[in-house]
């Protein structure tokens, strides 16, 4: 783990957010630097997935207070595509299928957009224009794609399939990780909460994250279950409850939660045990 110097790459400061007028995030504070791997744990309904969606700019959520500072800019008012082009990434718990759009076509467009980037200091072009065509060197892209597919052990036939259409759970996860590898985000949020991931899918996510882990990427791995952390060793573990981060610690915090359950921190009697399988 790198020694923290200067401001963190992603700073979440007293973040409040609502969905359908219901407050879900009630003052979240969190800092992530490139090179760090954070785990965010918490019982069901604590706001973990909401945080992931709000960081990325899901239009169903309204930020009612606080800031999301990414690379020194408050991005809370930017649309998801601009955040993505700046280097934020969200791996979906349930990636959507887009029939008729091949994975390779999608990856090419996404890569071109990411390469173009987005500078929040530059004035935005007037609305009412159709999207511009981005130039992309096809050879360069093919090389990058091949190398990432080798690292992640992704089969070539994958590319001509429609995006997530008819994909198994494991294939969807593999496609998400491949997108992450191609887009090379600076901060990646992986929303794995509550998902019925089988052990293979879990390994795919873990191996992918471990392969991409490095000084250029920080990550926030959202998980209900400690078991994912058997495969990815986090540097920092946060526990979320009722829309706030109530405890931050090292790797040992996850193990302690596994042993004692969330009730240990939340004080709620009926709280479920932290699953270990």
């Amino acid at each position: 783990m790198a020694t923290p110097t200067g401001a963190a790459d992603l700073i979440i400061r007293d973040l409040h957010a609502t969905v359908a007028d219901k407050e879900i995030l009630r003052g979240v504070n969190l800092e992530i630097r490139k090179g760090e791997t954070h785990a965010l744990m918490g019982p069901n309904g604590s706001g973990k997935s909401t945080l992931a969606n709000v960081i990325m700019g899901h239009p169903a959520y309204t930020v009612t207070g606080g800031e999301i500072i990414f690379k020194g800019h408050n991005v809370a008012d930017l649309t998801a595509d601009k955040r993505a082009r700046m280097g934020l990434f969200l791996a979906f718990q349930y990636p959507l299928s887009v029939p008729g759009v091949t994975l390779s076509n999608f990856l090419r467009s996404a890569y071109a957009a990411r390469k173009e980037g987005f500078d929040p200091d530059k004035p935005v072009e007037a609305s009412g224009t159709t999207p511009k065509k981005r130039n992309l060197n096809p050879t360069e892209f093919r090389k990058l794609l091949q190398s990432k597919m080798e690292i992640l052990k992704v089969d070539n036939t994958f590319l001509s399939r429609y995006l997530n259409e008819g994909f198994s759970g494991g294939e969807k996860k593999r496609a998400e990780i491949l997108q992450m590898a191609i887009l090379a985000p600076e901060i990646a949020v992986l929303d794995e909460t509550d998902s019925g991931l089988d052990i293979d899918a879990l390994r795919i996510v873990a191996e992918g994250v471990n392969a991409l882990r490095g000084p250029q990427m920080g990550s926030l791995i959202i998980t209900h279950y400690q078991r994912l952390l058997n495969y990815i060793t986090p540097d920092i573990v946060h526990v979320m409850y009722k829309g706030q981060i109530i405890r931050t610690g090292g790797r040992e915090l996850a193990l302690e939660l596994e042993e004692k359950g969330y009730a240990w921190l939340t004080g709620e009697e009926a709280e479920e045990a932290v699953a270990t399988a």
């Binding site: 700019g57 649309t79 998801a80 008729g100 759009v101 467009s109 609305s127 009412g128 159709t130 999207p131």
Partner: protein, 446 residues
């Protein structure tokens, strides 16, 4: 100066002149007269009385702005595909054959006929007489009657028993002369165990005056003998001046396979009526359609999946996109007759609205008169592009506009991909992409 003027519109004078010009067999003249009588007898479709016309009033139609009689214009027609992709080809400009790629010798020697209907009337009169306007009868619908009286030219394809035509037959129908009505006919007759692919594209449509209308009345008749396989694509790319009316019907005998690709992109207004009659046991119909309407286009089509034979199956998927202030109507009807045991019918209609002022109507209905069937389901969706799909693509850096385009193109592409002509797939994709882009405006200035 009193230059002789051609009769305008569809009049007694016009039908007499057309019959005088054509020098056709007496039975055809008789059929034209019968159809003309039917046209005069049948009432104009009334949105208040005719369910099928409820959303397509005809008050804007100006029938006397077009004429079935005028000289053909000269036109440079881009071929449908390179000759190598086709088994045979015909190009029509205002009813005149301007280019022809004959069927290969071996197929011709086996008895395959691909020719224009005027020639067929001279060379294969018995076959034409047996089938022409017996599948779609001029007495059953107003515009079919007009077509039966004034049909101009068309395509006649005959495939004898057991013959397989591997490459598609490709036809371009261009309407170029100002004010000239397009009255194109398609007649395909397949004897048992034969197979055929057929692709036709309709283009053009020039009004006589600057803000006038062009007019088209089409009939498509497809006769499938036992065990035949027909893959039929009809691509409507008329000009924005065109008012287009068509009746298409396939009659399927035992163990037939029919695939339809019904693509409608052009015209100011189009009203279509498509029927698959699954008469023989084990007949299967796969009906796919795309309609794309922008600006102030109005596209309305009706489909019927008519199950008469036992173990007949049909599977329909029509997809529509409406943008700007355009309007689309889809009415789908599944009818399962008594005795059609073991039948199964699916019908799906999906619509994407790209603007708030665009409107898509979907009206599915069923009539099932047999209990012993395998299944009958229908579904319809009308809505904007899915917000969750949009968010997913935007999370990968695509702007809202780009994401919308990608989703809409993907939505249509599965049906484009199935069209059996690579060159045409390319030109359709190009057009669809350009039109989706033109209607997708950036809204996220944040």
């Amino acid at each position: 100066m009193t230059a002789p003027t051609k009769p305008r519109g569809f009049t007694e004078e016009a039908i007499n002149e057309l019959i005088a010009q054509r020098n056709e067999p007496a039975w055809m003249t008789e059929r034209r007269r019968t159809a003309w009588t039917a046209w005069n007898d049948l009432p104009m479709p009334d949105p208040r009385k005719d369910e099928e016309w409820r959303r397509t009033p005809l008050r804007l139609l100006e029938l006397d702005e077009a004429t079935p009689l005028s000289d053909a214009a000269k036109a440079n027609v881009v071929p449908l595909a390179p000759a190598g992709e086709l088994a045979a080809a015909l190009t029509f400009v205002d009813g005149q054959v301007t280019a022809r790629q004959d069927i290969a010798d071996d197929l011709r020697q086996q008895g395959v006929i691909v020719t224009d209907l005027r020639s067929a009337l001279a060379e294969h009169a018995d076959l034409v007489q047996r089938y022409f306007m017996t599948v779609v009868k001029p007495t059953e619908a107003k515009f079919a009657a007009l077509h039966g009286a004034f049909w101009d030219n068309g395509v006649f394809v005959y495939v004898p028993k057991g013959v397989a035509v591997a490459l598609p037959v490709g036809v371009v129908v261009e309407s170029a002369a100002p004010g000239r009505a397009s009255l194109h006919h398609t007649l395909i007759v397949m004897e048992r165990d034969s197979s055929l692919k057929y692709v036709e594209e309709l283009r053009g449509g020039v009004a006589a005056t600057a803000d006038g209308q062009a007019f088209s009345s089409r009939v498509i008749e497809l006769v499938q003998g036992d065990g035949t396989t027909l893959d039929f694509a009809t691509i409507q790319r008329f000009s924005p001046a065109m008012f287009d009316f068509y009746d298409a019907r396939v009659v399927q005998a035992r163990d037939t396979n029919f695939t339809l690709h019904n693509i409608e992109l052009g015209a100011a207004m189009s009203k279509g009526h498509i029927e698959a009659l699954l008469e023989g046991a084990g007949a299967h119909a796969r009906l796919a359609g795309i309609y794309f309407a922008d600006h102030d286009q109005h596209l309305d089509r009706y489909t019927l999946q008519d199950h008469k034979g036992i173990n007949t199956t049909s599977d329909l998927l029509f997809k529509g996109v409406v943008a700007d202030t355009a309007r689309s109507v889809y009415s789908g009807y599944i009818r399962i007759h008594p005795g059609a045991k073991g039948s199964r019918a699916y019908q799906q209609n999906r619509n994407i609205q790209l603007s708030r002022k665009a409107r898509a109507d979907s009206n599915p209905s069923l009539e099932i008169a047999e209990n012993d069937i395998l299944g009958c389901t229908h579904g319809a969706t009308v809505g904007k592009v899915d917000e969750e799909q949009l968010f997913y693509l935007m999370c990968r850096g695509l702007s809202r506009g780009e994401a919308t385009q990608m989703i809409v193109e993907g939505f249509l592409d599965q049906l484009v991909e199935a069209i059996p002509l690579p060159t045409l797939r390319v030109s359709l994709r190009d057009e669809l992409i350009a039109r989706v882009e033109a209607t997708t405006v950036e809204t996220d200035a944040a």
